[in-house]
């Protein structure tokens, strides 16, 4: 997030794209509700009639995967009606003219044709956003989990730049992180091309700095992303995988593919708190401690580093991950010795200036938001106040590309996957909570009433959903939340796993799989319950 | 049933309606506040059903359960009380065999209600039988009325 959660309430316009915020980020949802109560306008861009739609001033129900066309046509209107922020563009950006040119064909009418959103709504949205004084854009995986996810993000950045809506309080672009410490894991360098603090592995000076600090030779080659590792394993190139606290069998696209790949590995280590579906395929399983059993820090979606504290002992011989990692490093002949979690934290701070100003006593009561470079730096509630790191922000022209797998006569529906309120991710944690299971006991496929009628399906019936990759049995939930021609499945339920169906096509840059669009078909089946009755 | 709901919703949309007017309409059409109707209208209009229940349960005029075929309303206003409405009430309860907080007879023929005042205090005690107000009521007149209604069933 460029801004803080606390700033949301002062937005005068909320533009929510591809984010079912009230279910996936309930507490950020509360801040949005506060803003709405204070009179903010709300624009929702989502194919589903999510809860926020009820409160929206404008709802753009686009066809899945047409985000680029939609945002480009919104920007077309902004240019055409001269609602751009010229002084901001001149002072703080470059390449605007070429970018402006690229928008010319995206008239609202053209946008309507591709996205299905009426041209008037596109025009109205453009005006509302461009004229707002402190608008905030909020998005999550609905924007990024596409083969053109990077393009979508560029579009959003362009939109904010051309209207000068960045670098102010309550004004910015805010991807909402879906997991407690995605931000931190990325910050800490658990990505193949960056060391901690987004320092590129391919820049020699940077590499040397880390080699000196870590007293080890480092590889200059950027590594593989998670999806690439799975592909590589299936090809037989990757021989060993160490998975810590992840359940790719359920969370990655195309489960059959993932399982085949993992089985093909020579050696798989899984370190987790439960015997997950992935762990069942492991050669060695290591029992880890959960969040309540260790000390450390999490970094939330607003870049706030906060203290995690040990409350209880882990069960049996389960150990904190840091204990396991340092012991293993020792066995491999590398001395990794730390007195405490804070010891590790201060090493990270030495390697990454944005964290250098923090220590545990500073964040004892309330966390700090990076960048926080010195011991008296108050942290950074919103980014780009004084300008962009590269001096001038670049406009990136993008063109609409259809999603990789579009519905056809054989697979006529588009599948969207996502989360629901009570269950969480692959269910490893929440499905072991009795109360959650009682309230959200089973998976379902949300089907538009018209599609359901077409297929002769009643509410609550078991149906079969298939894609080119696999098929699952699942309960039908007929609801107007879904756009006609699309179905939605939450991916928490292993017995009706959405990722049996999804495609492994990824974005060429970010390597994000296209989990939000794939083609499926729907069939009614006679469920067991029904047979018993007969 | 659906037509009924549509009418209620139309009335709401056309006449600056609110929860109260919808409840009045539901009561009018169904004779009580049907849970099913409330839930369907609530989802149609995106108003939470708790809003309806909070108001419906506030007024004695709204009924949360289906009612009998004939409604006997006994006024319990001050003048009627002084002129013996309690005696009539007790006798009718006995006659209809209503126990505890029951208000509808087992044969669903009668529902007995009390009202604070129907505004006809000059002719108290007042009883309304199927909204027909009858003044200067006494026990024997009351029994005749009940028997008449039983006979016509």
């Amino acid at each position: 997030m460029t801004n803080s959660i606390e700033e949301i309430k002062d937005n005068d316009l909320l533009l929510v794209i591809g984010s079912n915020t009230t279910e996936t980020h309930p507490i950020i949802g509360l801040q949005m509700k506060k803003a709405l109560k204070k009179g903010a306008a709300l624009i929702v861009i989502d194919p589903r009639r999510i809860e926020l739609v009820k409160r929206a001033d404008n709802w753009l129900q686009l066809k899945p995967g047409t985000d680029v066309a939609l945002i480009n046509s919104i920007m077309h209107v902004i240019v055409k009606e001269n609602l751009i922020d010229r002084s901001f563009i001149d002072a703080r950006t470059q390449d605007f003219d070429a970018f402006k040119e690229s928008l010319s064909e995206y008239t609202p009418e053209y946008g309507e044709k591709i996205t299905g959103v009426p041209a008037e709504k596109i025009i109205e949205t453009a005006r509302l956003y461009a004229k707002a004084s402190s608008p905030g854009i909020y998005y999550t995986m609905g924007v990024t989990q596409h083969t053109h996810g990077t393009d979508n993000v560029f579009c959003i950045a362009n939109l904010a730049l051309m209207t000068g809506n960045l670098g102010r309080r309550s004004t910015g672009v805010n991807p909402l992180r879906g997991q407690n410490n995605v931000q931190g894991a990325t910050d800490m360098g658990c990505i193949p091309n960056f060391y901690p603090g987004y320092q590129s592995v391919s820049i020699p000076e940077v590499r040397e700095k880390f080699e000196r600090a870590w007293k080890a030779g480092l590889s200059p080659r950027p590594g593989l992303t998670a999806t690439e590792m799975v592909d590589s394993a299936r090809r037989g190139d990757l021989k060993a995988l160490f998975i810590k606290g992840e359940n790719p069998v359920l969370s990655d696209p195309d489960i059959n593919h993932t399982v085949k790949a993992l089985k093909k590995l020579d050696f798989l280590v899984v370190q987790d708190i439960f015997l997950t579906e992935t762990a069942e395929l492991a050669d060695v399983v290591l029992p880890a401690a959960c969040f309540a059993e260790k000390d450390g820090t999490f970094t939330n979606t607003e870049r706030r580093v906060q203290r995690v504290r040990k409350a209880v002992d882990p069960p049996g011989e389960a150990r904190e991950d840091s204990w396991i990692i340092t012991r293993l490093a020792g066995k491999l002949g590398y001395d990794m010795h730390y007195l405490s979690a804070e010891d590790v934290f201060s090493e990270a701070g030495k390697m990454w200036p944005a964290l250098a100003g923090m220590n545990y006593s500073r964040i004892e009561r309330k966390g700090l938001q990076w960048p926080c470079t010195t011991r008296d730096h108050p942290g950074t509630p919103y980014l780009f106040k004084g300008g962009f790191p590269k001096k001038k922000a670049v406009f990136t022209s993008v063109n609409y590309r259809p999603s990789e797998e579009l519905p056809d006569s054989e697979y006529p529906l588009t599948l969207i996957t996502g989360r629901e309120l009570l269950q969480y991710h692959t269910g490893t944690m929440t499905r072991r909570v009795e109360a959650v299971n009682r309230a959200s006991p089973e998976g379902y496929v949300e089907i538009n009433p018209e599609d359901a009628a077409g297929a002769g399906i009643e509410n609550g019936r078991m149906v079969r959903i298939s894609s080119r990759r696999g098929s699952i049995k699942i309960m039908a939930l007929i609801s107007r939340r879904s756009l006609k021609g699309t179905v939605f499945i939450p991916f928490h339920y292993k017995e009706a796993a959405a990722n049996m169906l999804t495609s492994t096509k990824t974005d060429p840059v970010a390597k994000i799989p296209e989990l939000k669009v794939c083609a499926v078909k729907l069939e009614r089946i006679n469920n067991a319950r029904e047979k018993e009755q007969v | 049933m659906d037509e009924c709901l549509d009418k209620i919703i139309d009335n709401y949309l056309e006449n600056e309606g609110n929860v109260l007017t919808i409840l009045q309409d539901i009561e009018k059409h169904y004779g009580y506040i049907s849970e099913d109707a409330v839930y369907r209208i609530a989802s149609e209009l995106d108003i939470h059903p708790s809003h309806f229940f909070g108001i419906a349960s506030f007024y004695s005029q709204f009924h949360l359960k289906p009612r009998g075929k004939n409604i006997i309303t006994i006024c319990r206003g001050t003048p009627c009380h002084i002129k013996g409405s309690e005696k009539i009430l007790g006798r009718v309860r006995m006659e209809l065999d209503l126990l505890g907080d029951e208000d509808t007879s087992d044969d669903q023929l009668f529902t007995l209600e009390e009202v604070n005042c129907v505004g006809a205090c000059g002719i108290s005690p007042v009883v309304a039988i199927n909204s027909r107000v009858q003044g200067e009521m006494d026990i024997s007149k009351m029994m005749q009325e009940i028997n008449k209604l039983r006979a016509t069933d």
């Binding site: - | 909070g54 319990r76 003044g135």
Partner: protein
Amino acid sequence: MDDKKAVVKVCAGTGSVSAGGGEVLRAFENLSRSSGIKTGFNNRCMTQKVGCRGFCSRDVLVDVILKGEKTTYEGIKPDMVPRIFEEHIIHGRPIREWMAGDEHKRFHSGQTKVVLSHCGEIDPEELDAYAAAGGYGSARKAYTLMNPEEIIEEIKRSNLRGRGGAGFPAGHKWEFARKTRSDKKYVVCNGNESDPGAFADRCIMEGDPHSIIEGMMICARAIGADKGYIYVRDSYALAVQRLRRALKQCYEQGLLGKNIFGSGQDLDIRLYPAPGAFISGEATALLKVIEGKRAMPVPRMHRTAEKGLWNRPTIVNNAETLANVPGIMSRGAEWFAGLGTETSGGTKVFSMTGKVNNTGLVEIPLGTTLREVIYDIGGGISNGRNFKAVQLGGPTGGCIPESFLDHQIDYESLALAGTIMGSGGMVVFDQHTCMVDTSKFFLEITQAESCGKCTPCRIGIRRMYEILDRITKGKGRLWDIELLEELGAHIRTTSLCGFGMTAPNPVLSTIRHFRDEYAVHIKDKKCPAMVCKDLLSFSCIPENCTGCGMCKMVCPADAVRGIRKKPHKIDQQLCIKCGSCFDACKFGAIHIQ
């Protein structure tokens, strides 16, 4: 009135309609029509429905005006109509024995009709009738000749005070709303009439709906409102119907809507029929209901005149208050102020019921004494019994004993006597009324009608009711009177809204004036008025009993034993103390102890 025509006026208030007013009217209409064919008499006779005439104990009341001379009949039933028609209308011979007698004259002559002046005189369903009586002249004046400040000044000088209970000066209220800046302002007519037993507002709404609309128009002009609501309980079916019709006529005539009287000001008035609940009459609760919420009062951090409906300046005035406004504007503030006392101008309508000879609506100038009302207008206590107390202000008002009968009726002296003006309920009790039972009766209503929001009202009133209940059942404790006094004062002091602040009044006032009666209930387990049935026992006096069996027949509990022509006995175990045997016995053989 054209004296060539015979005019028949049939009272058409709720009381009258339930007494057969509709049938009486139809009988007149039918006769008029049929006789018209025969005699060509039709043109001379017109029948009108008129609003309540206040004298409800003598319904159905019929006026026959022949050649300008008005004759009033009382207690008319449909089968009596042909004779009136034949003898009076056709032959000009009034029927003496059916004419309203002295009581009727007395009932009306003691009153000063201001708010009720149109009720019973003009057809409430016709705008023309109202206009013919000078209606909407005041509104025209307010919109075309006066500026808002002048209107407010006029109302202030008239000493008009809110007739809904608390008696806040109306002009001041309007001034607050006038001075508060807002994009929108509202005027709301409170026609909830919470008080069971009071029906003044209903009669005005039924009998003179246009006067309320005109009052609202003038108020809207004064404060700058362009939206009004008439809140009326939907069980007042006739009032709802008449108001709806009146509003429709106003829109048709351009009296409401855009650009009223060419003043450039708009006014839209909506009728808001809502279910009746006692608490809805409280202004903040009433506004919540219009907002579509539960009728729960909110703390008055701001005046409603400054922040009311949807947080906009809002005037909430009682129907009677608003109906007074046109008269003030046309006849002048001095005239109105002159009618009342120094602190409160004008008249007040009371709904007099209970054990008086003449019950009905009574309009008197403020400052009249209670004795005048009860004895002169009301004709004294019925059945020749003795006056015991009079309850004013409805279930949250207080009871006043005989010693206060010569006090003036105005806001201040009523407060001194421990009661309130309320919405004008007046119930007269005779010596056969038990004051403990009466208090319990009122608290039974108020404990159920509490909105449940604040602690003292929700739980406290219920507890007072329970204490009263045990006293009337002979289970009172020695300290119960003091406990009631403490709790009553506590509820009065700590409650959130006016409802809770006044709800203990019936108990506190009766303890104040009739403390001994409570003490007898508690210490001697006796009810001196023979009302609290748990403290009574019924027995048969063998010397008087003829064994006629009447008591046995009426006893709902089969508690009477005995064979014909032999003295009967009452089984104390079975007796439910309903009193039916006592009423049925013609020989005075039932003894109550």
